[in-house]
Symmetry: C2
Amino acid sequence: MEAPLHERVAADLRARILSGALAVGAAVPSEAELCTRWRGSRGPVRQALATLRAEGLISGGRGKRPTVQRRELAPPFDSFVSFSRWAAMLGLPPGQHTVEIARRKATAELAAHLDIEPGEPVVQLLRQRLLGGEPVMVERTTFVRSWGSLLFDHDPDDGSIYEHLIGQGLQVGVARHSIDAVPADAHDRDLLGVAIGDPLLREVRIAYTKAGDAFEFSDDRYRPDRVTFTIDNAPEGRPLFGRTWHATVRPRPERSI
Amino acid sequence: MEAPLHERVAADLRARILSGALAVGAAVPSEAELCTRWRGSRGPVRQALATLRAEGLISGGRGKRPTVQRRELAPPFDSFVSFSRWAAMLGLPPGQHTVEIARRKATAELAAHLDIEPGEPVVQLLRQRLLGGEPVMVERTTFVRSWGSLLFDHDPDDGSIYEHLIGQGLQVGVARHSIDAVPADAHDRDLLGVAIGDPLLREVRIAYTKAGDAFEFSDDRYRPDRVTFTIDNAPEGRPLFGRTWHATVRPRPERSI
DNA sequence: GAACCATACTTGTCATGACAAGTCCGCGGC
DNA sequence: GCCGCGGACTTGTCATGACAAGTATGGTTC
């Protein structure tokens, strides 16, 4: 059974835009042309175009054909929750050294974030994360027991924890990230090569399953000379998709000789 | 001339959701009911519902009525570029002390950000920003001359600079925000009551006019104990509107006695 | 009481047709 | 050469109709 017409039309145009066959600034085929080409009516064609507008790929149009606005889609969701996916998207080899993985009892603070009882066992990891061979982040992650226990037969230095858990049936729902600034502590000094007290960019993340249960709490501290978070946004009348964010690697400052 | 039917249906349902008349979890009226109520056909009614889905207010539905998912919309764009608007949204009185407003020649770095020639005059402000009477941010803002010169006959401690410029014809296009962490300097110490070297959460913003010209570069440093940035996101299959960000005021830590 | 089936109600998808409103271009008149 | 107008093409909006597919409920049978 093939996909609905409006999905096929949208997919075809999207592929042509992302590949550059339809360049930024080029006019999109008219609704009439698309109806002829796909042997359909304006309804599904208009729905396909509405989808591309919503994705921010095309815009404009009343009285004239819409034009291609941008060539890339917003970064995928999993690049925000999986360091490995993010690194892959940047084209930099990710790396990690697991300093420890431990089963502990949840503190009251952690329990509050994960909506479990204080004292309930959780699985905690402390890891150094690298990009292109350089440490850029210290990750303090806590998983609830049901998912964390699956990590003990998994080598956390081998591939992505997220991919492993998804392979074990995890269905990720939404994630919430809070960004603030903290002074480096002793672990950070040891793992990032900074001085105690130096400012670090911290992302605190709580991730939920599709069913709405929190399964992961993470405190990730980045070297701010290497990583920033960037957000682009636009006023209301424009597509909300103008509102995107992504984490950026700063160019490595050149060594003065 | 009244608005199109699909806009009126969407506005009515949105108002009922935001007011709580349609509570989170409640079923939305069926398409047939809405057709009867508005004396229209399924086309515009479905378009109205699609808009509300896209805004993340309702979801679900095939074979049954959709349900209300959330009660609030994403923060408006201008709350990201105007401190006054952001404070208003939080219900906290904003305040500001302008330390200086000066005409200077752009440094090479600034010129690069604003796409002007180094040495070209710009207007710079250094301001302390307050929420509820407390300093939370130091703002170092640079405007290109054409817009910045309009500020000299405006009291920057009186109302919002953005509102003033928009009143003078400014049309804001997109804005880009980069978040990182920096150590406090002497100005920050004086204006925020922190120690030199303390970590501050910094947002660097470049704002563009509708025509695509950069008009503002700003370096805003927040006390991370008072302000964090929060991003919620969701996987692809879900509406991209799940991807929202906003700046949050932390609850003021209670004074221990 | 449980299971199954049919019916009713729901949304998703599509076609056809019509008219309003915007944009662009060519042609004629001044 | 310029300006205005009309025609052609475009998208926006809406109506009517039809059928596919999903969900819930009530009634009947075991």
